[in-house]
């Protein structure tokens, strides 16, 4: 098969799988073999979604969730990158922080939500903090890994030109670790979405998670489905934006 033919088939198959799934669902739902209240045909969700834009401020609710993700993400990712770089560069820092990092890394951070609520009250701050906690360690550890995997030869070059610790940090560790940092950030973004939606389930106060949970509570199942679809699209868009930023900041990364 020619390369172009293969590409075309690949694209067709990629598009085909979600469409097939939706068609199957539509067909079964319409046939009445499953309860249409809980498994409404996908085609019926369109009208629900349209009304939700006006009646339920769907965009506004989505934006509340996006804001929570962004604040929490920044609060966790920025310290994560800095601590990760320090852990990569300095073995004493690494030896000191590694046991704590690996131990806490394994705890599902959402389990800490009660503690966070006690410490930070029940406002927005608690949501940001739980997101920050959830992503800090994955960002720090992958940043550290990025620094550690850098060839010693780059350090030698910097030292040979008389570069000190700050030069090493700025010209070798930071740029060299950026691909690994972005790998960590991509994972972190997924975590952040999960945790924000989770907190909105537990303590509904606006946001797409609250919308899903409240729709479920009043058996407004179609609205719940619309909320799920919006959540999925949101996750996809956030990763696209991150990929775009990476392409701008890491132009030297070889095409994968």
């Amino acid at each position: 098969m020619s390369l172009r033919g293969r590409r075309a088939l690949e694209l067709a198959l990629t598009i085909a799988s979600p469409i097939l799934l939706l068609l199957l669902w539509e067909a079964i739902s319409r046939s009445g073999r499953i309860d249409r209240l809980f498994w409404p045909p996908p085609s019926s969700l369109w009208d629900t979604a349209k009304s939700m834009f006006t009646d339920d401020d769907l965009l506004g609710e989505t934006w509340i969730t996006v804001e929570r993700i962004l604040f929490g993400f920044a609060m966790g990712a920025i310290p994560g990158v800095i601590i990760g770089l320090l852990m990569g560069i300095s073995w004493p820092v690494r030896a000191f922080l590694m046991p704590i990092a690996t131990a806490i890394y394994a705890i599902p951070k959402i389990a800490l939500l009660p503690l966070v609520l006690i410490a930070f009250g029940t406002g927005e701050m608690a949501r940001w903090v739980i997101v920050a906690l959830s992503i800090f360690f994955v960002v720090a550890l992958s940043t550290m890994g990025g620094v550690l995997s850098l060839d010693d030869i780059f350090t030698d070059v910097a030292r040979n030109f008389g570069g000190g610790r700050w030069t090493l940090f700025r010209t070798v560790a930071l740029p060299g670790a950026t691909p690994a940092i972005f790998t960590g950030l991509r994972l972190a973004l997924g975590f952040a979405l999960i945790v924000v939606v989770g907190t909105e389930f537990v303590r509904p106060n606006g946001g797409i998670g609250s919308l899903i949970w409240e729709s479920y509570s009043i058996l407004s199942i179609k609205k719940m489905y619309v909320g799920l679809v919006v959540t999925g699209v949101l996750g996809w868009v956030l990763v696209l934006v991150l990929d775009l930023i990476e392409r701008l900041l890491v132009p030297w990364r070889q095409a994968r």
Partner: protein
């Protein structure tokens, strides 16, 4: 070949004031590494003078400590005994710059950013910097690739970038650790010619570590032969081949064959010893 002719008639290096004092004096130099299996002597009791403007090659079997010797001279490692007297080197600018073995060019910088790396650390004036980089990229034949990233270049071009980066800081001493080891033979010949041309033009003192006798004879005024385990200097062979050296005619010179034979004879026993000693490694 105008440049080469100019060199043939001018005996003195360009930078006036030639002193008889060697540029670098290495005395009783030793380096012992601690390893899990106990101390390992990388080099032992090395005496060597680097003369201003000369091209010196160091050959030896793998693991003979030739890279360690070079790294000590570069200041990247400290000796456990002996000393390197660099009183002959200038103090107002970087005394040495190294062209490393393997992939030392920063993948995250463009060709021109890589070439300017040493200069940016030394915070030299911006205007000068641009001019120096222009000229150097011209010299190493990379003018058309200023904005390219290393992964877009061939291995040979990347090594040219490394050479430009080292030369940019105008070091008195250019150190090269197996600079062409990973290149194919034809690319290697071309880069050897270019390094010789640059050496002619700049009058720098160059030390190259290589495993290739052929490369050592192509480039050097003197070839230092090292023993293995521990690394010591076994022989220093003056290379009397006429300059400028041409890759083809040089190899048909009977002197080339004689020198090759002498160095290989000296090395052969070392390589065999080294393989016996290092069999478990």
């Amino acid at each position: 070949m105008e440049i080469a002719l100019a060199r043939a008639t001018v005996e003195m290096p360009k930078r006036g004031n030639v002193s008889r004092q060697p540029l670098v004096q290495i005395r009783g130099l030793g380096r012992v590494f601690e390893s899990a299996a106990g101390p390992v002597t990388a080099i032992h009791d090395v005496d060597l003078d680097l003369r201003q403007g000369e091209f010196l090659a160091i050959v030896g079997p793998s693991g003979c400590g030739k890279t360690t010797l070079l790294r000590i001279v570069a200041g990247l490692e400290t000796p456990t005994s002996g000393e390197v007297d660099t009183a002959g080197l200038p103090s107002d600018r970087p005394a040495n710059a190294m062209v490393f073995q393997g992939r030392s060019v920063f993948p995250w910088l463009t060709v021109e950013q890589n070439a300017a790396y040493g200069l940016s650390i030394h915070r030299s004036a911006k205007r000068d910097k641009a001019k120096i980089i222009d000229r150097l990229l011209e010299t190493v034949g990379l003018s058309g690739f200023r904005k390219a990233y290393p992964h877009q270049l061939s291995e040979g071009m990347r090594q040219r970038v490394a050479i430009a980066r080292a030369l940019a800081v105008d070091p008195e001493l250019l150190l090269m650790d197996e600079p062409f080891g990973s290149l194919d033979e034809q690319t290697r010949f071309i880069l050897q010619d270019e390094v010789l041309r640059i050496w002619h033009e700049t009058g720098k003192t160059v030390v190259v570590v290589t495993h290739s006798i052929d490369e050592a004879l192509t480039l050097a005024d003197r070839v230092v032969v090292m023993t293995a385990h521990p690394g010591t200097i076994k022989d220093v062979v003056p290379v009397t081949l006429a300059r400028p050296r041409d890759q083809a005619t040089m190899r048909s010179d009977p002197e080339f064959a004689r020198l090759f034979g002498r160095i290989w004879e000296s090395l052969r026993t070392e390589v065999l010893d080294s393989r016996a000693a290092g069999a478990g490694r």
